[in-house]
Symmetry: C4
Subunit: 210 residues, 4 copies
Amino acid sequence: MNRTRLEAFSDGVFAVAITLLALDLAVEGPGHGHTLLWQQLGHKWPAFVAYLISFFTIGIIWVNHHMMMNGVVVVTRTLLYLNLLLLAVVVAIPFATSTLADYLTSPWPDGNTAAALYAGVFELMSIAFALVSEWILRHDEYVRDPLPTAARTSARLSFYAGQLPYLTAFVVAFFSVPATVIITAVTGIYYIFVRTYAPPTPSARDMPME
Amino acid sequence: MNRTRLEAFSDGVFAVAITLLALDLAVEGPGHGHTLLWQQLGHKWPAFVAYLISFFTIGIIWVNHHMMMNGVVVVTRTLLYLNLLLLAVVVAIPFATSTLADYLTSPWPDGNTAAALYAGVFELMSIAFALVSEWILRHDEYVRDPLPTAARTSARLSFYAGQLPYLTAFVVAFFSVPATVIITAVTGIYYIFVRTYAPPTPSARDMPME
Amino acid sequence: MNRTRLEAFSDGVFAVAITLLALDLAVEGPGHGHTLLWQQLGHKWPAFVAYLISFFTIGIIWVNHHMMMNGVVVVTRTLLYLNLLLLAVVVAIPFATSTLADYLTSPWPDGNTAAALYAGVFELMSIAFALVSEWILRHDEYVRDPLPTAARTSARLSFYAGQLPYLTAFVVAFFSVPATVIITAVTGIYYIFVRTYAPPTPSARDMPME
Amino acid sequence: MNRTRLEAFSDGVFAVAITLLALDLAVEGPGHGHTLLWQQLGHKWPAFVAYLISFFTIGIIWVNHHMMMNGVVVVTRTLLYLNLLLLAVVVAIPFATSTLADYLTSPWPDGNTAAALYAGVFELMSIAFALVSEWILRHDEYVRDPLPTAARTSARLSFYAGQLPYLTAFVVAFFSVPATVIITAVTGIYYIFVRTYAPPTPSARDMPME
């Protein structure tokens, strides 16, 4: 019951953040130079790439947030504030996306700075997500059907291993911008497909899933 | 129960996207030239036309999304991700609308590019909608009161025939910008009136409708 | 149950529209001239006035929307589309507010155009609201506890008399911009206080109110 | 039941306002000068500071709004309008934040004006919050489990003492901008930690909390 409002607020923030992503796609109006519209759209490919990666990454966070909160029956102030911390990072994703879209093709060091900022925000998001998960895993008294010990270990492993790809993408940003973009894209695709067709992970057990 | 949160998030995205459409209507402040305000507003008629078509097209998608999800009782990860795909296109509609508003009266090839982009995004939205519908039609085990076989054929026909107008509008864009605008507007009006006064289509049966 | 999603979507649109109003308050950053910040803020008084009037007008529409929908038990496609029409006007209020804020102090004819646009959008909103109300009044079969005949006449009177102030404000705009602003402000204040302290009007009977 | 829609609308406004805060973080695109991206990001530290303080302050208001509304069972028009007053101030926070971010490092009097505006909006928010709380405290007939007299006194003390830090920050703004920023930040942190680990305050008793 209290969870409803926590979820409604979080869903609102996710929905606004995911929709603001598309503001970067905007092209300049006519009369701002001699570039044809289809050429402008063509030059904006980094904005489309950044948009798609960020859209599905926020989408995946939302799906996992959905699952993670599903078993929580008592919402405490600590959980509310940890969730706010996660949302504070989610809300910064459109900013990081917009910066990457603008500087993706810039030479050293601007392209690298933008890529590091992008991977860095995703890494912060991954850390904030792990904090919320860890808190829930440690408070069985507020959760319906807490996980058995083995599942708990495996869930923790998954949260902590989840830090690796974005950390790698962050470090790689100083050497290769395209490599950072590819790592963040592949990480997103991995999380969509692996969890979709694999048997439900322990943390998914609370919710009817394929 | 799980559907609630899927719908809440989708409603949030639809609501933000539909509200952002109106940002294009903004005129320039005083002191930016000698054009009178009513002349500026007059010159912005393409923005008003594009706003109205997009507003009601997103509105129709929302109404149909409402009906389509109504019978779903188990939300799986695949459905969540197919729904995200649909939302990724919905979120791009304000961008396509804004581009059409800016370039509607531009000569070849800019006006045509903008019209093709506009019709193209609507076609992608139509395809994404058909994908979600097709998935629901194929998973009776997650749906309350699945459709009988005849109704299913007719529902599929409607989804696949629904691709035609936007595909036509896309092709026509390369020859005539006004024709594309008229086709997208008429398609929207058709979907509002036909479904309003006709007896409920099979897919509408789940929900109390006129 | 179906009403829930209609209300959730409408609430989302109202919430985004009411929050976008404040974007007009933004001042220019430092280095854009020699105007001190407090002088800039002082010169922006039309933006603050327009913001407050529009905020509380949208707020009043939302409160009344809340009350009007409260007795509806079956949501039909016609009601969904009439509601969309109302939302299409609500979404245009930030645009009209922003234009008024920019041109409130401009000489004839720009100030007058902005004031006419502002009052005109409020009048359209009032008409759309009356259309939704009229439809609900005519469809007792979809409403819990339909109004008795006398209450119905009085409710209709209130909807149709409600057109007058904004229509007046629209006509007055061509003669006096401040008069238009005052009429729209007083109309809002009237609706806040009259309905708050008066005994509930017939249409309010469905909902526990003071 | 009616409270649901009041909360849904408020949550929407909080969610949009909190997400718009991050729009200030945007940097300029390439080609707008010779500043490197990491230098631009470094120069934007006031925007990051202002973003974090405002994000968590809005978050705290949302958490407290959540708790305050939790015991309300009958929503009257007066409560709806007092709540709208609170939301009107919340919606102005992104504007005050953006102004502070732009002028934080400006010399007298611009930095001081921005700091006074920032603390002033927070003070108004605190007053609006106290008004809503006071109204709820005075209307036991609309509240489930009204507070006992002692708890009521202590709750009132907390609302009225809560005015002090922002009032101080407002006055201090005319002498020291950094002091204002520190006071608003510390006030936020105080409210996060004190209420999290302290035994529930009387007003929190309605809701399961740590």
